[in-house]
Structures are given as C-alpha cells and as structure tokens.
C-alpha cells in the first residue's frame, strides 16, 4: 500500500460528504462518524492489506469497528474505495438494504457486525489467535470508542490479549473525548489512558488522528510481532471538519433537514457557516 496524503485528504472530504448526506431522513451518529473518518480513510487507503477483490482472501488484514455507530464513516470509505457502489448509500435506513446505524456482514468489507459496545475486541482476539495458528501475516485492527472503554469487557479482554501475546492485534481508540452526550472526562475520566493500557501489558502509541502524516508515521512503526498487543490512542475531534457541530455534546446523533445538510456540506468545503434549526439531542 502506498501512502499519498493528497489522496487521503481528497477521499476524506468525500467521506465526510457521505456522512452528512446520511445525517437526514432518519439521521445517523454524525459526530462520532466525523471523528473517525480520517482514521478509516488512512487505514483503508494506506495501511490495510485488503481491497474489494480480496475480501475472501484468508491473507487479508481485518478491521473491526467495535464502536459500530460510527459506521457512516466506514460506508463512505467503502463507497469511495469501491467495496460498495456509491449509489447504495442512498439506501441508508431502507429495510430493503443493510445500510443502517450499525455495521453488518451484508455490506461487503464488514468483517463482523457490531452495535453493542465492548464485543469486538474479544472477537478480534479470536481472529488474531486463529491467524497466528494459520501462520499468516494478517493483522487485526479493532477500532474502539473512548466511551466504549467504560465497558468492563474491554478490560477483561485487554488482560487476556496480553496473556496470549497477541502481537498481530492492534486496537485503535478513536479518542474524540466525548461519549454519547457528555465529555468523557466529565463523566468517567479516562486519562491517563496510555498508562492504563501500559499497565495491562500493551504497547502504546498516541497520535493525532486527523494528521495523515502523523498517522502514517505511527502506523508504519508499530511494534507488531514483538510479543505484545498494541493500542494506538488516536486523539480526534467529534464532528471534525464541520465547525458548527464540532466538539458539541449535543450533536452526537443528528437528523438534519435537507437544507441543513446542504449548508453543512458548504461549511465542510470552507464556505459560509450553517444556520442550524433542527433540535439538538440531549439525552441526559
């Protein structure tokens, strides 16, 4: 895989357009999708050994989206890279297709379904263990949310992955500093997060999750195959790229009007700031 920052940037803009386009007529988890869009674009364009024509190749790399609600970023990435047709994104929330709020295997490229938090680190460990026994070089990447780290099953799995020396496993935390409706540090403080993972026996790395060069430098030098699993804490920003909804606790799940989506898309391209009239969602 060759890394090309310009290509990453181009694709990530289009993925964000797709995310905004899915943020209406029922809506989606816009804020979380925007925070991990750059991560997914980088991984699928420049890191993972998987392409639309290798989806059944046992030597392909595996990516699991454990925080499944940011799947619009994955759908958008898949549409841009040819895993699915772009037109299929228009089927968002249509029962006749499988493009809904959480990932599932009926969408080419999705390796395992998710929805309930705290599951896919364990599932990824099973895959990583099998891959090691198959003596393949494939890597298993599991994208975790920072809010998802509240789940006890994550910390159970971290211990077991360390015990089993799963060094072909990489967890990436989309550290967008928010959980559903509130800042993580105001609810269940996570920091110092690196130290927690290190204490569990994992290699750790920390990176700006929106800086493609930094991501490439970080991911290219991961200590894969050195006896320990690795976690990358990718510092990101909820709503990244669309200032009106950036770092907003109340813009987690968004269901905008068509006009708002058009304005936000303009805003994404650096034009006028959108005027939002849709109610914000505050659950707490």
């Amino acid at each position: 895989m060759t890394y090309d920052r310009g290509r990453c940037e181009e694709i990530s803009i289009r993925v964000r357009e797709h995310i905004l386009a899915m943020s209406t007529d029922g809506g989606c988890f816009t804020g979380a999708s925007l925070s991990c869009a750059d991560l997914l674009v980088y991984l699928y364009t420049s890191y993972l050994n998987v392409r639309p024509d290798t989806l059944t190749d046992p030597n392909r790399d595996i990516l699991l989206l454990s925080k499944g609600h940011d799947v619009p970023a994955l759908y958008g990435t898949f549409a841009e890279l040819g895993f699915i047709e772009r037109e299929r994104l228009a089927n968002h929330l249509d029962c006749n297709d499988h493009i809904y709020w959480h990932p599932n295997r009926a969408v080419p490229g999705v390796e395992f379904h998710s929805g309930s938090l705290g599951h896919l680190l364990s599932v990824g460990m099973g895959m990583a263990l099998s891959i090691r026994m198959e003596q393949r070089a494939s890597r298993v990447i599991v994208i975790l949310g920072d809010g998802e780290l509240n789940e006890g099953s994550i910390w159970e799995a971290l211990q077991v992955a360390h015990a089993l020396h799963l060094d072909n496993l990489v967890a990436i935390v989309d550290r967008n500093w928010f959980q559903a409706n509130v800042r993580t540090e105001e609810l269940i403080p996570l920091e110092p997060l690196d130290e927690k993972f290190r204490a569990f026996g994992w290699n750790t790395a920390r990176v700006d999750g929106h800086d493609f060069d930094a991501l490439h430098a970080c991911m290219s030098s991961l200590p894969i195959g050195t006896g320990r699993p690795t976690v990358v804490i990718a510092d990101t920003m909820r709503g990244k790229g669309v200032p009106s909804i950036q770092e907003r606790a109340d813009r987690w799940f968004c269901n905008f009007t068509h006009d708002e989506v058009a304005q936000l898309t303009d805003e994404l391209h650096g034009n006028a700031v959108a005027t939002l009239v849709s109610p914000t969602l505050i659950v707490r």
Binding site: P58, R105, E111, F112, H113, G115, S116, G118, H119, L120, L121, S122, V123, G124, M125, G126, M127, A128, L129, S130, I131, M133, E134, S153, E156, A157, Q159, V160, A163, L164
Partner: protein
C-alpha cells in the same frame, strides 16, 4: 482419561478445526491440554471474552467448544452468546458445568436454573441436556460432526439407563413404557433428572400406575411429535425438571399443547425459585425432585385429576 477427554483428544487429532476453550474450568478435562497444544486455550475467569474469542475463531472456520460454569456462561456472557454466536450462527458449542441441581452446595449465584429458558429463547441456538456421561459424549461427537451453535448442560455421571440406540440430537427417547398405548402418565424429563424420574416411574408401575417415561435430551429444537403423541395418549402429562417451571420444558410442552389445541392435563414438577444449598441428595429431597418425592406427587395429581372424559383433539377441531 475420561470419555470426554478421549473424545477431545481424538477429535482434535483428526479435525484441525476443533478448538477447546475454557474460562478456568477444566476439572472434567484435566488431562487433555498436553494433547491439544495451542488448540486448548484457558482464558482465565473471563466468560465474555471467551465467547467473543470463540466467535472470532469460528468466523475463521474453526469449530469451538467453550466451557464455563453454566450460570456464568449463560448469564454473564449471555449478550456475547446472543450477539456474537447466535446472530451470525457460528459453530460454537457451549458446555455449562454444574447446571440445575448439580451446583448443590454453591448457593443461588451458581444455580443455573434458568439456563434452558435463556438458551432456548435464542434463535439458532440448540439446547442439549444429556442424562449421563455416555449420552454427553455421544451428543458432543454428533455436534462435532455437524457443528452448530448449541448450549450443553454437562452431566458426567455414569450411564443411568439401558439405551437401545445411540443418542441422536433431534429425538425424544422413550425410556420405559408400561403399555403400548394410552398410559395413565406421560412423564417427560431431561438431563440429571432422568435417573430420578426413572426410579419414580418404576415405583409407580409397582403400584399399578402405567407410565411412559420420555427423556428429551434435545430441548431446542424440540421433538414436537413425541410430545404431541404423549399429550394425546396419556391421561396426564407430568414434566420433571431441575429448572424453573416458567421457561423450561414445562413451558415448552404447554406451548406445544396450545399450538396443537390439545386440552391435556399438564403438571410441572420443577423449581419455582432458587433452592437451598446443600449436598445433592438433600437438595433433591427438599426440592421434591427425588424419586421418593416424585412418585407420591404424581399419585396425588392422578387422584385429583377429575377424570370426566376430557375432549379429544378430534372433538375440538370438529
């Protein structure tokens, strides 16, 4: 090595797909790890992680057997079973230890008396409740021949009854039958209750009560035909189970009776709440699940069964 250990050793030797996982529960397979090498994984006391890993392994073509205490397996890891095994329909065989009354002295936290209800409520998941070690091992062999998601209530006691044929995982088994047809009592049971139900049936027969005893090793999917036949033939049907009456086999039999419009007398002998902890024989006595309790209970039920002719299925449907 016990029969289960031999099965695991031999299956792993001939089938490279088979993996054996345990959540630090290996008393019944202490001798196999050296034979299984990296295909035996003890994840520690981590049932949820074990189920997630099993799903990940199965998604790569492996057949995974997991082991944990039945209560922790079915309750703590329930959502992992539902989400990661049942929804994608992956071949994970889930063996629960000390189910039902077999938790004897552990107390209510360890009492898996709702496990059958939980597991039979899940689409795609089978429920296998063997009566003894022989049946357990034969059933496990069949599951490994044709792998699918299945919860297994582990029973390691020696064989309790004479079986004419090998266990198959889709049929109920008529264990004893006093008369060719129309017994007074159809007695349905499964798992560790079978020997006690069998003793009770023998006592009743000595007292002149005709009993057809049917063992249901497979609780999901159920052999409906044998249940319908029992409901239609017998004066009274009794379900004996070391499980909560609601959601266990009694509930399943009632569902079948309603669906087939059979107005049968169906009585439960089972649990309504957690039982007092103690040694197994006393547990069976205080819960009314030993033969000395089951037989007189059935006699009383039979006497109370006001038996003016109950309508037959034909009369209801006409």
């Amino acid at each position: 090595m016990n029969r289960y250990e031999l099965l695991l050793r031999d299956r792993c030797a001939i089938d490279p797909r088979v993996m054996v996982l345990t959540a630090e529960n290996r008393g019944h397979m202490r001798n196999v790890p050296p034979y299984l090498g990296d295909r035996f994984v003890d994840v520690g006391i981590a049932e949820q992680t074990m189920l997630g890993m099993a799903a990940g392994l199965a998604s790569r073509g492996r057949v995974v057997i997991v082991h944990a205490l039945a209560a922790f397996l079915t309750l703590r890891a329930f959502e992992f079973i539902r989400d990661d095994v049942a929804i994608p329909n992956l071949p994970v065989i889930m063996v629960g230890m000390v189910p039902g009354v077999l938790s004897d002295g552990n107390g209510p936290t360890h009492q898996a008396i709702d496990d059958v209800g939980l597991m039979r409520g899940l689409p795609n998941v089978g429920v296998f409740a063997p009566a003894d070690e022989e049946e357990f091992v034969e059933g496990m062999a069949e599951l490994l021949d044709n792998p699918r998601p299945c919860y297994v209530r582990y029973v390691g006691t020696p064989t309790s009854y004479h079986r004419e044929e090998r266990t198959t995982l889709h049929r109920g088994v008529t264990v004893c039958d006093e008369r060719e047809c129309c017994p007074q009592v159809a007695l349905l049971t499964y798992g560790a209750m079978l020997p006690h139900a069998l003793q009770a049936a023998q006592k009743l027969e000595q007292q002149g009560v005709s009993v057809r005893l049917i063992h249901m090793p497979m609780l999901a999917p159920l052999d409906e035909a044998i249940i319908v036949e029992a409901l239609n033939d017998a004066t009274m049907t009794v379900v004996v189970e070391d499980h909560l009456i609601r959601s266990g086999l009694y509930s399943a039999v009632c569902e079948i009776a309603v669906r087939h419009r059979i107005a049968a007398a169906i009585h439960p002998i089972g649990l309504t709440t957690w039982f007092p902890a103690g040694r197994l024989p006393q547990v069976l006595r205080v819960t009314g699940l030993d033969a000395d309790s089951i037989a007189p209970r059935i006699r009383t039920l039979l006497n109370n069964e006001s038996a003016p002719e109950r309508p037959t299925t034909d009369e209801i449907s006409s």
